[in-house]
């Protein structure tokens, strides 16, 4: 279990922010082995800072991070895989050498690093490019090298900051598959993303962060249950004032009126709608992650 508890971090102020800026104000969540955790939040909410602290790149002012009950040090983090938001590779270094180098930095022996590199290149379809300089690769292939760098040492934990940003739909699927594979192998995977549909599709659980605080954590199903279902009725060309006195809100698009409500007598609403015009849609809807997110950070 990867446990992150009560992380706090304040960045020192510059001329424009004399008091400094609170980046994290008590972030905490935990991820089980084999669980994929989606980390969502607006820009500047604190996702990257949290991940940097987990990876030891930044120091928290207070709070703790532990893996399998032990607090994290350099030795533990050596077995973590990390893909930072700001991608980086040595542009002039050859593909295979680069992956091997990071394997060695993560503590693999020379032969192990070479074998792991060969395997990864094979799986990512980069074997033919192994001796090319990274800068000669297409952006998509560079992303694969970046992923290989994060995976080369067969990490115990994967932390990925915006791994899907800038990828085409096919590359997104390929990366998602690679992550799911690792996850099924018992690796906890944390990734941040603004693509909420993707998070909804891939993740077992989700953490929503806003202004340095966790505003919601849990499985997608839990969050939905907490948010509550809503009733949506679409009526075409209804008589004016048809929804007066009904709960919820009406939005109008052309001659279509949509009523959305979380309470009220659904049968009464249906009767009123049928009387007012042509009912095109009547149904109970689960909130999407996007709606949950907007509600949570509002």
């Amino acid at each position: 279990m990867l446990e992150i508890s009560d992380l706090r971090k304040r960045f020192a102020g510059g001329p424009d922010a004399p008091g400094g800026k609170v980046a994290l104000d008590g972030i905490g969540f935990s991820v089980r082995p084999g669980e994929m955790f989606g980390f969502v939040g607006a820009n500047g909410a604190g996702k990257t800072t949290t991940m940097r602290i987990v990876m030891g790149v930044l120091q928290a002012d207070s709070g703790s991070v532990s893996w399998q009950g032990r607090s994290l040090g350099y030795d533990e983090r050596q077995r973590f895989g990390y893909m930072p938001e700001e991608r980086g590779l040595y542009q002039k270094m050859r593909v295979a050498e680069q992956i091997e180098y990071f394997g060695r930095l993560h503590g693999l022996g020379p032969a192990e690093a070479k074998k792991a590199t060969d395997d990864l290149l094979e799986r990512l379809g980069l074997t033919e490019r192994r001796s090319d300089a990274v800068q000669t690769l297409s952006l998509g292939n560079q992303q694969r090298v970046q992923l290989a760098v994060a995976l080369v040492h067969d990490p115990e934990v994967l932390i990925l900051d915006e791994p899907f940003s800038g990828l085409d739909p096919i590359a997104v699927d390929a990366l998602a598959t690679a992550l799911q594979e690792r996850c099924r192998g018992g690796v906890p995977v944390i990734f941040s993303s603004h693509q909420l549909e993707l998070v909804e599709r891939l993740c077992d659980s989700v953490g929503i962060v806003s202004a340095g605080r966790m505003v919601a954590t849990g499985t997608v199903a839990d969050l939905r249950a907490a948010e509550g279902n809503s009733l949506r009725v679409v009526v075409r060309d209804p008589s004016p004032g048809w929804a007066d006195g009904l709960p919820g809100e009406v939005t109008v698009f052309g001659d279509r009126h949509t009523l959305r409500t979380e309470g009220g007598d659904d049968q009464e609403i249906l009767r009123r709608a049928m009387k007012a015009g042509h009912v095109e849609h009547f149904g109970i809807e689960q909130p999407t992650l996007t709606e949950i997110f907007k509600e949570a950070v509002a």
């Binding site: 930044l58 990390y82 930072p84 980086g88 040595y90 930095l105």
Partner: protein, 369 residues
């Protein structure tokens, strides 16, 4: 420790494979070899071609063993005049009483001819004059010229290597910071390992350069015969220069990494490095000046002041005999300075290297954590 060595090894293997490094090494080796042969080709010992008309050859060779003297004899004064005007001979002795030249005679040759002529005539008259015994009561100055020459070459060498390697460190730091690869690196190695590995790796490359130059230079000097003019103690001097290079490099390279970590783009490297390159230039100019006056007050005082000592002590060591305790004291001061700079540089680097974006101010970095 493993991380440190891996980082250093990457620096070395990456650089050593570039064309630039190999070509640079080859060019310096050729230059050094050329410099070692130059005196033989352009200078060489003085040589005189002299003629005689109805005269005995004077025993010049005994009086000037370093000069090459060739004699030709002419049947009469007219033939001799023509040869002098044609430049075939430097001077012609006629009837043992006068010397024909084209214009003023070479002063050295004039003095030589006069004194040897007197000696011969007096000897013939039975007067023998024992030669004056020359004795120096001051320092041994036999090798003064050679020593000064070696000092100039050393200073230039140290300057070029220091400047080159220090700029490499700066560019390497910015490469990692600008591409954000530093974030992945710092999640697996500690900042001091990354910084230290880079400095060590590029330092080893500098040493490879220095040793190549020394070996090629010495070998060429031995082949060309220049080594015969070398003062004693060259191996000790070279060992000293290696140590001074390492100390000077550690000092400047650490500062270089600290300054470079303030910027995120290669275009900003040269401007952020200006104070440091100025410091290296000033050190070089002062050191170069002291090659003219290696025993003066300026040289003596600054040979203890880091970082000037890194270039000025080698100058003093090359130009004069420096007592071992003085070298030791100067090195100790430099080591203390290097340690101070290491702690300062590592702090700045650690704090600044993850803050990408606009150029950071050194003061801000030092104030904030």
């Amino acid at each position: 420790m493993n991380g440190l060595m891996l980082v250093a090894r990457r620096e070395i293997t990456t650089q050593i494979r570039t064309k630039g490094f190999l070509i640079g090494l080859l060019v310096t080796a050729l230059l050094v070899a050329a410099v070692s042969f130059a005196p033989k080709i352009f200078g060489g010992p003085t040589s005189y071609t002299l003629g005689t008309v109805n005269s005995q050859q004077l025993p010049l060779q005994a009086a000037a063993p370093d000069a090459e003297v060739t004699w030709r004899s002419f049947p009469d004064e007219n033939a001799a005049k023509q040869a002098v005007l044609a430049g075939d001979v430097d001077a012609v002795l006629v009837n043992g009483v006068k010397v024909l030249t084209d214009g003023e005679i070479d002063p050295q040759l004039g003095v030589l001819l006069q004194s040897v002529n007197k000696e011969t005539k007096l000897g013939a008259a039975g007067v023998s004059i024992p030669p004056l015994q020359m004795q120096s009561v001051g320092a041994d100055t036999r090798y003064e010229a050679a020593r000064a020459g070696i000092a100039v070459v050393l200073v230039l060498l140290l300057f070029m290597l220091l400047m080159g390697q220090v700029m490499m460190v700066a560019m390497g730091v910015v490469e990692e910071k600008g591409s954000r690869i530093v974030e992945i690196l710092l999640s697996t190695v500690r900042p001091w390992q990354l910084l230290g590995g880079k400095i060590i790796g590029l330092g080893v490359l500098g040493l490879i350069n220095l040793v190549t130059i020394a070996v090629v230079g010495l070998a060429a000097a031995m082949v060309s015969g220049l080594a015969a003019d070398f003062p004693p103690g060259i191996p000790g001097l070279l060992a000293g220069v290696l140590v001074w290079f390492i100390l000077g490099y550690a000092f400047f390279a650490t500062l270089s990494a600290a300054f470079a970590s303030l910027v995120s783009r290669q275009e900003e490297v040269s401007s952020v490095m200006t104070p440091l390159t100025m410091l290296i230039m000033v050190t070089y100019f002062v050191a170069f000046y002291t090659t003219n006056d290696a025993t003066g007050t300026l040289a003596t005082v600054l040979s203890y002041v880091p970082p000037f000592s890194a270039m000025i002590m080698p100058v003093r060591m090359a130009a004069t005999e420096v007592p071992l305790w003085q070298v030791g004291a100067s090195m100790a001061a430099m080591v203390v300075a290097v340690l101070a700079v290491l702690s300062f540089g590592a702090t700045v680097y650690q704090r600044a290297v993850l803050r990408t974006g606009a150029r950071l101010k050194l003061g801000d970095v030092l104030r904030t954590r």
